[in-house]
Amino acid sequence: MTASILDGIVLGLQFGLLATGLTLMYGLGGILNLAYGQMAVISAIVTVSIMDAGLPVVPAAAIGIAVGALLGFVLDQTVFRPLYSLRDEARVLLSLLLSLGVALMIDGFLNWLFPLKGLSLFIGGGAIDVFGEPMRRGSLLASGITIVAMGGLVAFFRFTTLGRAVRSVIEDEEGARLVGIDPRKMLRLILVLSGGIAGLVALTRSMVAPVDVTAGFGITVFALIVTVVGGLGSITGALAAGIILGVINAIAASAIGTFMSLVILLVAAAVTILVRPAGLLGVKE
């Protein structure tokens, strides 16, 4: 049991960090980005390609994350452009369609160009005992990096002027404009940031299990479930929901089997919507 819970926390931390990107894009700009998982996969494939070319892992990973962020910028400037003249539901729906198209296209290209590539940042060395359970070094390092990144994100949104400006757009877009904040610029910043987050999560995932070219949609589905449970637009909600669902997932996988764990997560999400339509910490309209 302890082992499952610890595994669940490792996974859940990453879910939580992943979902912050999705929840911010939705909360800030009404964009439901179904190509989110593919952004993560591209970061992973870029990283492994650079490592294959002979560069060490740290610079390769940095470039991988930067490419994820760049992809967010490119999406903002190209495919997502038509969205900005739309409002409310029309924008959400078109964002679903456009990003689904992007996701399918990226999947197609990756399968065609790199059918066998996958990133696996295996960390050697023996296991380390945590609460009496042996934990792999990769899991611990992945969790450590994720916690630091979460802390950085929370601090950014709480204490910096720019971070507060981003939150203000989620809280009240018109109020934000009245104090001189341009919502379009904040959304662009969030698309770039979430691209970087997707890249970072792909790298930490690959320390626990390989991330291959087909992983995109799975990542998006996990992030969506966590986002819905945490509450659309809530950063702390996403982080909390990630950890809770990670533990549920791990216990379900060990008690019943991996084949059922995704179903159980979906049930958990459905129950959350029934009980608290706005999610754990979502904004009530």
């Binding site: 002027t161 507060r164 400006a165 939150r167 203000s168 809280e171 009240d172 018109e174 109020g175 934000a176 404009r177 009245l178 104090v179 001189g180 904040i181 341009d182 904004v283």
Partner: protein, 232 residues
Amino acid sequence: MLDVRGLSAGYEGGDVVHDVDLRVDEGEAVMVIGSNGAGKTTLFRAIVGLRPASAGQVHFAGDDITGSPAQEVVRLGLSFVPAERHLFPRMTVHENLALGAYPSRPDPDTLTMVFDLFPRLAERRRQLAGTMSGGEQQMLAIGRALMAKPRLLVLDEPTTGLAPKLAAEAYEALNTLRGRGLTVLVAEQQVPLAMALCDRGYVLEGGAITKEGTSAELADDPEVRRAYLGVT
């Protein structure tokens, strides 16, 4: 300081405000009075850049701001306090005020000035804006607008939803600001309060200016007395 010429604005269905001329000189306090639905809010939203104008021009402090979005207009020194306030409900009083100074860090002197003007905000600086009463939220909305150090403060019905005592308090604060040389443009349905504050005023009816004059002139006008001052 503010010069509005031939301004028309509205929604997809057609213009709500027609061919409005309006002027506010430096140091003046000017009111726009009119009943519910006369177009005061649409007019102000078009002036401050929250809504496009379909015709006419808006000049502020020498700049043509016609069509400039609100986020740019505020940086030129024109701050707008909407009737619905549009605060950031899940942020603290202090965070709301700090964002008022965006993109700069909040100026300590301005912050002290706002807290002197509204001592209740100082007591509640750690409270979430969404949990405050209507009167406190109105103080916060005005305080947030002041953090940008505006040269012109534009307020749309600052007494909306306020009990008479709080409405009077809000106008007391505006009076204090006037005394320090701030230029003010205010739309108001509670005409006596606005008349006591302002030098001049315009009457907006059916989306057009039907009268203008000094507060004293308007107070003596029989139609204004009947329609807005409750004198029969």
